[in-house]
Structure formats: C-alpha cells, structure tokens
C-alpha cells in the first residue's frame, strides 16, 4: 500500500509566543495534546533574554513603533540599572507571596518561603521571579528575565518602565524565549531542521524529561 504515512495531524501549541518574538515554542502532536493541561498546572517559570535600547519611547514599546519621545541617556550607569532591577525583583517577590493564596500565618507557609517554593497556583497577573543584566553598552542593554503568566507585550512594557524609572526612556529591540519549563534552546529545533526525521528524534529525546515532570 502506498501513500503518505500521516494524513491528518492534530497539533496543539503550548504557551503563546508573539509574532515579533522568537525562541522555544512547545508543540504537541496527536496524543501529546492531552499533556498540555498538566503543563499549565505546573506553573513553571519561563526564561527570556530581552534586548533594549535607551533614548527612545514608542507607542508599542518596541523599536518598530511610532516615535513618541526621544530623551538623553548618558547619565545612566550599570549600577543604577541594577538598583532598579533589584527593586523590581523585590516588588514582584511580594506579589508572588500575595497571589499564592497561602495563609501567611501558618508554619507551612514559612517552610515554603524558606525554600522559595511559594508560587501562585491559579490565575495571576504576570510575575517576574528574577531579573539579571547580561550586557550593558550604552545605549543598548540585555536582560535575562524569569517570569510566570506573562505575555511578550508585558515584557516590552517592563523595558519601557525601566527606562522611565531611570529618568529616560527605553524600547525593546528583541524578545527571545530560552526556556519554557523543562524545554531549553538545546532541545529546540532550528528552522533548518523542520523535517520529519529531526522531529522524531527530538520527541524521543524529550520523552524522558516529560515523564519526570
């Protein structure tokens, strides 16, 4: 009997990724779609590298939008940026504890807080668990952001707000997801490898990871 092996494929997508962003995008094929609900309930953090540029402000917070304002940025130093990042982490840490809906007065809340395992298990606004500055070369800079329940537009808005806090303005040049739960860039297939053979190998390699979760 001849004919193509697969006639219809059911493909489902994992966490949303914008048109302008890039990076790891989890897809499920056929029976794998059923694992997606469990993936959502795990509430694992996703890691992004976000690149930004000081001196401009646009209406959609990225460098391709309509210009709103231009500002000076020569007073910005790496130290000031890191201070702002520390404050962002602090406020988000508080939000993490508040949205987790655990009663703060119990001993078990204390134990979880010590281990750092408190996280919101239901719906919540975007929360950033950790931020770090990777590169700083005026006017551009790069950040690594670990977050939960976010959208890429929220990350771009975050870059814009960092610019405002530093008494200047900033736009986001690129957003790249490097980790989605357990899947990292190493497991992901680049465009050149979008053929059946590599897909099968990749699924085989990831099966172990999916099972442990």
């Amino acid at each position: 009997v001849r004919g193509p092996r697969f006639r219809k494929l059911k493909i489902g997508a994992g966490h949303r990724l914008d048109v302008k962003a890039s990076g790891v995008f989890v897809l499920g094929i056929g029976h794998g779609n059923k694992l997606f609900t469990e993936l959502y309930n795990c509430h694992l953090t996703k890691v992004y590298t976000v690149g930004g540029l000081f001196g401009k402000a646009t209406d959609d917070f990225s460098d391709t939008g309509n210009l709103v304002e231009k500002t000076t940025f020569d007073h910005i130093t790496r130290e000031k940026l890191e201070r702002i990042l520390a404050v962002i982490q602090g406020t988000n840490q508080k939000a993490l504890l508040m949205y987790s809906n655990i009663d703060m007065k119990t001993q078990e809340a204390y134990e979880l807080a010590v281990k750092g395992l408190i996280r919101p298990m239901g719906k919540s606004p975007p929360i950033i668990t950790a931020v770090r500055c990777l590169r700083f070369a005026l006017p551009e800079f790069q950040l690594e952001i670990h977050c939960l329940h976010e959208t890429q537009q929220y990350l771009r808005k975050m870059v814009h707000e960092i610019g405002l806090e530093l008494k200047s303005s900033a736009v986001c040049t690129h957003v790249r997801r490097i980790r989605d739960g357990v899947f990292t860039v190493d497991d992901a297939l680049p465009r050149t490898q979008w053929n059946l053979q590599s897909i099968q190998e990749a699924i085989w390699n990831c099966q172990l990871k999916v099972e442990t979760e």
Binding site: G55, K70, T71, H75, A86, G90, M104, Q107, A113, V114
Partner: protein, 427 residues
C-alpha cells in the same frame, strides 16, 4: 499623500526634539519616610490627626511608608514610646526636631502659641528643639535616642543633653521629689565621662552611654538590673559598668526595653538586665541579671546586636541573622521562645542562586518588631504588627521577614513601639 515612506519616517525621527530629564549632575536626594500610628503625632504629619478640609477623615494608622518633608538632610532618627526625634549634623542653629507626645517634656519646651507660658502636650509637626549649646554654630549633633519618656542628644564637642522624665534618674541628674515634668524648660548636660561619648542608647527608663575607650556608663531605673551596676536601685549619675565587660573594648551597645546587649571588638556579646523572656537564660536561671555577663554563643564573630522588649537579634560577620527570646521571632508561628540563638535562613532576605551577594547589613529592634537592612538597600520587617507599625500595608502580624516597598534605597531605620521612621536615598 499616502502612508509615509521609510525614509520620511527616519527623517522625522531624526528631527524630533530630545528631552532631558536628568543631567549628568543629577544627585540622589535624601528623604524620610514614616509609617505607623499617627494619633500621637509621632509621624509628624498634622493632617493625619487634624485634617485640613472638613470632609476629610483623620487617619489613625498609616500602613505604608509616607514621605515626610524635612528642611534639612536628616542623619539620625530615633523613635520613642509615642514620639520621634530627628537630627541633622548641620552647623545651623536648628539641629534637632521632635514630634509626638510631650507630656514629660521629652521634646523640650514647645512654646504654645495660645498661652506663652505653657508648652504643647502633643506636637504634631517636626518642631525645632532649642538646645543650650555654647557654640551653636560649630557643634554638630551626632546621634539621638529616645526611651519611654526621656530623650538623649549626643553632640561632638559638648557632651550629651538629656530631657524628659527623670523620676528614676534616667536623665543623669538627681531625682527631685514631686517634680512636674510637663512644661519643664530643664535640659541637663552631661560631660563627665572618661573620654568622649560616641553612642547613646535609651532603654525604657534607663540610659546607656558608650565612650570612645570602649567603656559603658549607665543611669536610671535598675529594678531589673538593666543598669548593670551590681544592684537593683536607681542611679542618678552615669556610673561606669564592670562585670564581664571590664577592660573589654565595646564597639556597640543596644537596648529598648529592660534588657541590654553589648558587642565587643572581638565579636563577643555581653548581656544584662531583664531575662524573664529567656534572653540571658544561656548563662543563668535568674530572671534579673544586674552585672554584665558574657553570652557564650558559638555562632561566629558578631558584628551588631539589637535588643527588643522580649526578643533579641544579632548579626554576624558573615551576614547571618540570629534571633532568640520570646514572641514572634521570625521563624514561623511555631517558634515562640528559645534561649539559644536560631538562624533565620538567608533565602528569606532575598538571597538565592541568582543573587548570591545579598547580605544583611544592619539589624534594628522595636518593642516587639524586628527590622533588617540588606546591602542592596531593602528593608525587611517581622514581628507583631501593632497598629500598622510594620509598614507592610496589612494589619496582621508577620511571622517571617517581609519586604517593605519603599521608593528608594533604605539607609537607616528606627523602630518604635507603634511607628517606624526610615532614612531613604532616592534612585
């Protein structure tokens, strides 16, 4: 005609004006934030107690940090039992401001506008305190400290000034029978110490002075042994302490209730005073210790100590925080009392694999609250949330360290019974 082409957009962008919000010489400003119970006037915001518009309601509690406008840069602040002192190390004539309760003249004589001979009993706004200085335009105020109903002001060349209640000799002068403290003009000056005084600390009804040579002097109430002089009577004149600290160079002393702790330059901690809450139970079963005793804790070299009403906290050289005593100690609701110091895990202060260089830099104590400052300028508080004094925005007690969101880098914090004051540098 038609949508602008890429070249037109680029030209428009280049021609757009550039705004400058902060130049190269932009300086970080120093600010003061207050929070807690406001009806005593201790927060220094009169509109909380007496609103300026008829429809506004008075604000009894300020649950989150509120900025206080001050004329000068404040370098030292202290919270007493319902009142606050702010001091600046300027050379101008006005160096110290006070607000809050003034029923025992702990804020000096505040001339009332309605009756020139009487003094205000509640001061709602930071009001200057006139000090009888010999050289008012040269002396600088280094530090202030407040107790239950008395306050101490430390200057660099003219000794220590004390004011307020003296019924136990805590102001360093003889107790006068039936003295009326309210509306008193008397500010006493203390100069006879073996060397220059570098730190002053007020307990509830006693005062401690630390000199440059590393000795400690005490005066005031001694019924719990908090003066450390070997007896349980009151002392009217600052007297030198002996016991285990004789000959030891003390670098820091702390007290707020009836227990006292001192840290030596070698990292040892000594304690005396009230021990009903197991604060000194590691050396003795007595509930009152009237001679300084060395506390043999094997937790490393100690850098700083702070005493609260029922609980104590120390900070070691590595940046670890240890608590012991009674009450909400910061390790969850199950730990209410311990005689041996327990460490609070650094992950609660923001330490993680991502930011491994976060360290606690200072620890402070209120009556039943604790505060810790990290080297990144973040403020963590825990303890009993009496009338909103923790500043977290919630009214419940906090059983483990919780961040207080302050718009700036916190440089120092002073804790009182039901309010707190912090000095913050803006970003």
């Amino acid at each position: 005609a038609g949508p602008p082409s890429t070249r037109q957009l680029r030209e428009a962008e280049e021609a757009a004006p550039v705004f400058q919000y902060a130049g190269k010489a932009a300086r970080r400003k120093d600010r003061v934030f207050v929070w807690g119970f406001s009806y005593s006037g201790a927060l220094g915001v009169p509109s909380f107690v007496r609103p300026d518009a008829g429809w506004k309601k008075p604000r009894r509690i300020q649950p989150t940090p509120y900025r206080l406008e001050t004329e000068e840069k404040i370098t030292s602040a202290a919270c007493g039992y319902g009142f606050t002192l702010l001091a600046s190390n300027t050379r101008d004539i006005t160096k110290v401001w006070g607000m809050g309760l003034n029923k025992d003249s702990q804020l000096g004589f505040q001339r009332s506008r309605r009756d020139q001979t009487k003094s205000y009993e509640y001061v709602l706004e930071p009001s200057p305190i006139p000090l009888p200085l010999e050289k008012p335009q040269q002396t600088r105020v280094l530090q202030v400290s407040c107790g239950r109903a008395h306050s101490l002001v430390l200057t660099d060349s003219e000794g220590v000034f004390t004011m307020g209640n003296n019924s136990y000799g805590q102001c360093g002068r003889k107790v006068v029978e039936d003295e009326i403290y309210s509306g008193s003009h008397l500010i006493h000056q203390l100069k006879e110490f073996d060397s220059r005084v570098v730190q002053v600390v007020c307990g509830q009804d006693h005062s401690l002075f630390r000199t440059k040579k590393g000795t400690i002097y005490a005066c005031g109430w001694g019924a719990d042994g908090q003066t450390g002089l070997g007896h349980y009577n009151i002392t009217c004149v600052p007297t030198k302490l002996h016991g285990d600290i004789a000959g030891v160079n003390i670098i820091q002393v702390s007290s707020y209730g009836d227990c006292c702790l001192a840290v030596s330059d070698e990292g040892d901690v000594f304690g005396w005073g009230n021990s009903e809450y197991l604060q000194l139970a590691s050396v003795t079963e007595n509930t009152q210790v009237n001679v300084p005793r060395h506390l043999p804790f094997k937790i490393g070299k100690i850098k700083e100590a702070a005493c609260g009403g029922t609980g104590n906290v120390v900070l070691t050289e590595e940046g670890n925080v240890f608590v012991w005593g009674y009450g909400i100690l910061g390790k969850g609701p199950n730990l209410t009392e311990t005689a041996v110091p327990e460490m609070i895990p650094p992950s609660l202060f923001g330490w993680s694999d991502f930011s491994p260089d976060i360290r606690v830099a200072h620890v402070r104590c209120g009556l039943s609250q604790f505060a810790a400052l990290t080297n990144r300028g973040e403020l963590f508080v825990w303890g009993k949330n009496l009338r909103g004094c923790l500043g977290t925005g919630r009214m419940e007690d906090q059983y483990f360290p919780w961040r207080v969101t302050v718009p700036g880098e916190v440089v120092d914090v002073a804790c009182g019974v039901d309010h707190m004051v912090s000095m913050v540098r803006s970003f």
